[in-house]
C-alpha cells in the first residue's frame, strides 16, 4: 500500500541523496522558498498534520505560535530522543530516510523563521546519527541548507545533539535543557517553548516523524494528504508492533489513521505466534490503558482509541497473551516509571516509587486488599503535581488492569 513516509512500505536500507532527488526530493523546499513561510504554515494546517511525538498537537498551530512570538531569534528543534521501550519508529526514519527528515526540518525552520535548527538524536542511535550527519554534508553541498538556500535570502544552520538515553530526556523542555548544556529535567510550564523555549527564545519542538511528513504535504498538497486517514485525523502513522515473541512478523508499519487494529496485528504482524490467544492490547505502550481482546477492531485513530477507553500515543502497540500475568507486566511498567522519574517533583518521586513498591508486594504474594485500594488513591492525590506528564503515565495501565482483570490481582492475595 502507498504510504506517505515510505511510498513502498517500510523498507530498511538508507536512501541516498540521488535516490531521494529521483523521487522528488527537495522539490518541496524549492517550491516553498518561492513562496512565503506563512504559506507553508497554511498548507500544513490545511492538511491537518498533528504531532507524532505523543500529544498530537496540530503542527501548523505550533509553527504559527512560534512564528508570531515577538522575541528573536527563533529555533527549530527536531526531537529524536526516542527512548520509549519498544519504539524505534524515529530511528527507522533517521537511518533510512535521512533526507526526507532533513527536508522536513528545513521546511519547518523556514516556516517559523529560524536561523538555526537542532537535530536532537538519542545517543544510542549511532547509525542514525551517522546517517543524518552524512546526509547533512550531502545536502549542504547541494545548497539545501547553509547560506542563501537555493539562491533565496534564507539562511539556516544545523547542529546535531546527542541525546542522553533516558525516557524523560525526550520531553520537549528536557530536550531544551540538554541543548543548553544541563541535565534532562523538564521545566515547569507555562511558559511553553513556543514563546519561551531554547535560550529563552521562541522554539518549535517537533518529533522526527512529524517533520518527515512535511515535504510530501508541501509537494502534493493538503488534499492529497487528506486522502489518507480519517476526516478528523488525516494522514498515516508508524506503528511499532512489539518486538517480542508475540506476533509472527513484528516490525514497524505505516498505516493510515483509522485502520482497524486487527489489520495491524493479523495482516501486518501475521497474527499471534503459536496460535496464542490475545488477552489484552495496550495501544500506546507503556502508558495507555489496556483494551480487552474483543476491542481488536478499534480503529487506530486517537479519537476512536479515546472512546474505547485508551489512547493512541505514539503507536507502540503491545499485546498481552492469554496466560500472561498482568501483574508481572505492571511490575515492569511501574518499575520503569519509578526509575525514569527525574526526581525533581516530590509528588512524582513518591507516587512512582510507591506504585512500584506496592505492585512488587502484590506480585510476591505479600499484598492485601488495602494495598490494591492504594493505587487509585496515590494516582488521584498526585494528579497534575509534576512538571511533566510522566507523573500521570503509570495511571492508565494500572487502573485499566484493575478493572479488566481483577481476578489476576485477587489470585495473588495470600488468603485467596
Amino acid at each position: 500500500m502507498e504510504g506517505i513516509l515510505f511510498p513502498k512500505g517500510v523498507v530498511e536500507g538508507r536512501e541516498g541523496l540521488k535516490e531521494y532527488q529521483a523521487r522528488g526530493g527537495y522539490e518541496a523546499l524549492a517550491k516553498a522558498l518561492k513562496g512565503s513561510p506563512e504559506e507553508v504554515i497554511q498548507v500544513v494546517s490545511d492538511a491537518g498534520l498533528r504531532g507524532h511525538g505523543g500529544a498530537g498537537f496540530p503542527t501548523g498551530k505550533k509553527w504559527q505560535f512560534t512564528r508570531e512570538a515577538p522575541e528573536q531569534p527563533r529555533y527549530l528543534v527536531m526531537n529524536g530522543g526516542e527512548d520509549e521501550p519498544g519504539s524505534r519508529k524515529d530511528r527507522v526514519l533517521l537511518e533510512n530516510l535521512p533526507h526526507l527528515v532533513i527536508e522536513g526540518a528545513v521546511l519547518g525552520a523556514f516556516a517559523i523563521g529560524a536561523g538555526k535548527a537542532y537535530l536532537y538524536i538519542n545517543a544510542k542511535y549511532e547509525t542514525a546519527i551517522k546517517s543524518i550527519n552524512d546526509a547533512l554534508s550531502e545536502a549542504k553541498a547541494a545548497g539545501y541548507w547553509g547560506e542563501k538556500i537555493l539562491g533565496s535570502n534564507y539562511d539556516l544552520d544545523f547542529e546535531i545533539i546527542a541525546a542522553p538515553h533516558n525516557y524523560v530526556a525526550g520531553e520537549d523542555t528536557a530536550v531544551l535543557e540538554v541543548i543548553e548544556g544541563r541535565k534532562p529535567q523538564p521545566r515547569q510550564k507555562p511558559p511553553f517553548p513556543v514563546t519561551v523555549g531554547l535560550f529563552g527564545k521562541p522554539t518549535s519542538v517537533n518529533n522526527v516523524e512529524t517533520l518527515a511528513n512535511v515535504p510530501r504535504i508541501m509537494l502534493k498538497g493538503a488534499d492529497w494528504y487528506r486522502g489518507f486517514g480519517t476526516k478528523d485525523c488525516p494522514g498515516t502513522m508508524l506503528f511499532s508492533l512489539n518486538e517480542t515473541e508475540d506476533v509472527n512478523t513484528p516490525g514497524i508499519y505505516e498505516l493510515p489513521f483509522g485502520t482497524p487494529m486487527r489489520h495491524l496485528i493479523e495482516n501486518c504482524g501475521g497474527g499471534m505466534k503459536d496460535g496464542k490467544k490475545i488477552k489484552a492490547i495496550m495501544p500506546a505502550s507503556p502508558s495507555s490503558a489496556y483494551l480487552p481482546a474483543d476491542k481488536i477492531d478499534t480503529p487506530l485513530d486517537p479519537n476512536a482509541m479515546r472512546d474505547a477507553g485508551s489512547m493512541l500515543g505514539c503507536g507502540v502497540v503491545h499485546i498481552v497473551r492469554e496466560g500472561d500475568s498482568i501483574v508481572d507486566e505492571l511490575v515492569r511498567i511501574t518499575e520503569f516509571f519509578a526509575a525514569e522519574s527525574c526526581a525533581q517533583c516530590p509528588a512524582c518521586q513518591m507516587e512512582t516509587k510507591s506504585l512500584a513498591m506496592l505492585m512488587k508486594r502484590v506480585q510476591q504474594k505479600q499484598g492485601n486488599q488495602a494495598m490494591l485500594d492504594q493505587f487509585g488513591k496515590l494516582l488521584a492525590f498526585n494528579k497534575g503535581k509534576g512538571f511533566c506528564n510522566l507523573i500521570a503515565m503509570p495511571g492508565p495501565p494500572i487502573e485499566s488492569a484493575l478493572k479488566l482483570f481483577p481476578a489476576d490481582f485477587q489470585a495473588l492475595l495470600p488468603n485467596a
Binding site: 526526581a343 518521586q349 513518591m350 507516587e351 516509587k353 506496592l358 488495602a370 494495598m371
Partner: protein, 109 residues
C-alpha cells in the same frame, strides 16, 4: 523487647542531599543512648514532601516531623521516651499525611 515504634527517615535524592542519611544515623545513636530498645530507625524512599525534608515519620504512632535538623533530634527522642509531641515540627498538610499513613497501614513497609 519487640519494636513498638519505627522512625522512618526519607532517603530519596532530595532529602539525602539535605543530610537525611547523617540525620538517621544520629537519631539511631540518640535513641540507643536514651536506652529506647523498642524503637528503631528505618530508611524510607520518599514521602512526597521533599521541599519540607528531611522528614521523620513515627509509625505506627503517626507523628510526622518535617524540616528536621540535627538540633531537633533531642526533642524527638524525648517525645519517643514519653514527652508530648514536638508541635513546631508538625507542619505537613493533613491530606498528604492521611495518604501516607494509609499507605503505611497496608503493611507495605
Amino acid at each position: 523487647m519487640p519494636v513498638s515504634q519505627s522512625c522512618l527517615v526519607c532517603q530519596n535524592i532530595d532529602c539525602k542531599s539535605r543530610g537525611s542519611e547523617q540525620l538517621a544515623a544520629e537519631l539511631q545513636q540518640k535513641i540507643a543512648a536514651k536506652g529506647l530498645t523498642d524503637v528503631d530507625v528505618k530508611p524510607y524512599m520518599c514521602f512526597g514532601a521533599c521541599q519540607e525534608g528531611p522528614n521523620v515519620v513515627i509509625y505506627p504512632e503517626k507523628n510526622w516531623y518535617a524540616h528536621v535538623k540535627s538540633e531537633d533530634l533531642d526533642d524527638i527522642v524525648a517525645h519517643l521516651a514519653g514527652a508530648p509531641h514536638v508541635q513546631r515540627l508538625d507542619t505537613i498538610d493533613s491530606s498528604l499525611k492521611e495518604l501516607i499513613y494509609q499507605l503505611l497501614d497496608t503493611g507495605v513497609f
